[in-house]
Amino acid sequence: MTSDVEQLYQRIILDHNRSPRNFRAMAGGRSAEGHNPLCGDQLTVHVRVEDRVVADASFLGSGCAIARASASLMTESVRGLDVAAFRTLASRFERLVTGSADAPAEDLGALTAFAGVRRFPVRAKCALLAWRTLAAAIDASDVVVSTE
């Protein structure tokens, strides 16, 4: 197995794919739909925002390991962030997965595991789907999100 693949499918990503965290519906929050029809990735992201702070985030749906693990780790990473901090983290995550593969990756804690996506440009859309969908949920947008 080449190291590229090992960097993409890191243990933490495989673990979150197999046992996604916060994989549940949510009563009383907002939600948004994300759909990448070419891939077949389909996510519903739920969020509860209290006093401009993400109090809870969860998701349901199906997709590839990158999409599922990204959604799962995202729901853990954003809890407790105020909305402005979420937006900052979302754009840092986007830079992490779409940046130059040769540049050093920014340390985003557990999310840094997704730096391997940079060597697989066609998979960036998988990693970003949950994040864009969460942003749509926070903005109360009812447009179906796609990153394709």
């Binding site: 080449t2 070419l38 891939c39 990158i66 998988c126």
Partner: protein, 413 residues
């Protein structure tokens, strides 16, 4: 040929050498190209033919009186005759050059649909269809008030022919059906479907995109009214394709696009259209593409379409058996007759992850819905991994595929 499959194996090394692109490495592994249903690779002689046309023969066709234009025109018309013989069409006038299968189907849907489909009429197609044989008919239905009727498949991925017969009514105006399913590999019983439809006077369009590179196609034996295919899936260039139409039905069809080349005379009061096939070839056609497609057909003919079919049948059976031995693999569909296509899913590994892991082993396959979303919905799947072969593949490709699937499964274990 007494042992076509054996001949094929013996001959395949030589055939593989004909395709320069296949001799590359990706991720430090030899390329194993198993996505010929998306597009086939091109033999060097087709690439050279394209180049030679531009070096020696390029001129507009059916225009100039000078020798060069005559040379281009005769190369273009020779290609048309090659296609005619390849399909066993009755006349070269039945061969219309288009951009590809999609344009061919759009041409029929637009021209034939406008002339013949009214509110309350019905168009019959199947659950197996590619979007390109669904959406043009949906547009006809939207514009006319006609309705789509869909032939269901059974658990094996074969069409339910009894259901098909029940769908035919005196309102059915067209049956549009794939020759070979691009997602499951099902070879449809086109001859039987045509007989059934013709008993009621209903014309049949066949989407031949996944059939032409994989065996003999005889449009007169099939009896279909229209047959569409793409050059790039038949070892030819992209941007050239063919619509076959039976001459009487083509003659009665209004033009699709309007412009130069499709007219007999134009005044501001009106226009007389050219005879077929020129009536459907408005604008300067992809002359070099047509000529190179003719060359690609010569290439297939030199091997023999029946030998190609026998060789590929053997290889697909080998691939099916090898994948079926892997406990984590579920092959989607088990049609009675399978073309050069095989879809599967791997337990616990999403098709896109499978395709990424296979790519890193040099194995190129397709993952996704294969432009068959209604079929995927019917199957309850978001996506499959699709393996598709052509005459340049051999058992070592299948072995590399199987080894890569095993490794992919290990990553996710």
């Amino acid at each position: 040929m007494e042992h076509p499959a054996r001949e094929g194996r013996g001959g395949v090394a030589a055939r593989r050498r004909d395709f320069p692109l296949l001799h590359q490495r990706f991720h430090d592994k030899p390329l194993v190209y198993l996505d010929s249903a998306a597009t086939t690779q091109k033999p060097a002689l087709v690439i050279d033919r394209l180049s030679r046309f531009y070096r020696e023969e390029n001129a507009n066709v059916q225009r100039g009186v000078y020798a060069l234009s005559e040379r281009a025109t005769s190369a273009y018309e020779a290609a048309r005759a090659t296609v005619q013989r390849f399909l066993n069409a009755a006349s070269p006038r039945e061969i219309v050059f288009v951009r590809g299968t999609t344009e061919a189907i759009n041409l029929v849907a637009a021209s034939w649909g406008r002339a013949h489909v009214r509110a309350g009429d019905e168009i019959v197609l199947s659950e197996l269809e590619h979007h390109s044989n669904i959406v043009p008919w949906q547009i006809v239905c939207r514009d006319t008030g006609a309705l789509l009727r869909v032939i269901p498949i059974d658990g094996r991925g074969d069409l339910q022919l009894d259901a098909f017969e029940r769908l035919l009514t005196d309102r059915t105006r067209m049956v549009a059906i794939a020759h070979v399913s691009n997602a499951l590999g099902t070879i449809n019983p086109v001859g039987e479907i045509v007989r059934c439809a013709h008993q009621r006077g209903i014309p049949v369009l066949v989407d031949g995109a996944q059939a032409v590179a994989h065996g003999r196609v005889d449009v007169q034996a099939l009896g279909c009214d229209f047959y569409a295919f793409s050059g790039h899936k038949l070892f030819g260039p992209a941007g050239i394709g063919v619509l076959y139409g039976r001459e009487p039905i083509l003659n009665a069809l209004p033009p699709y696009q309007a412009g130069g080349g499709m007219i007999r005379s134009v005044t501001f009061d009106g226009t007389q259209y050219a005879d077929v096939p020129a009536r459907f070839e408005a604008g300067t056609p992809h002359v070099a593409g047509a000529v190179a497609l003719g060359c690609a057909i010569d290439y297939v003919n030199a091997i023999g379409p029946d030998d190609v079919a026998a060789y590929e049948r053997d290889l697909v059976d080998y691939a099916t058996a090898a994948l079926a031995e892997l406990p984590a693999v579920r092959i989607i569909g088990a049609p009675v007759h399978r073309g050069a296509i095989l879809s599967f899913v791997v337990d616990g590994v999403h098709p896109h992850d499978v395709a990424t892991l296979l790519d890193r082993e040099g194995v190129a396959v397709r993952a996704g819905h294969h432009c068959c979303q209604p079929l995927m919905t019917r199957l309850g799947l978001a996506a499959t991994v699709r393996v598709s072969i052509a005459l340049y593949n051999d058992r070592s490709d299948v072995d590399a595929l199987v080894a890569a699937v095993v490794r992919a499964r290990e990553v996710f274990a």
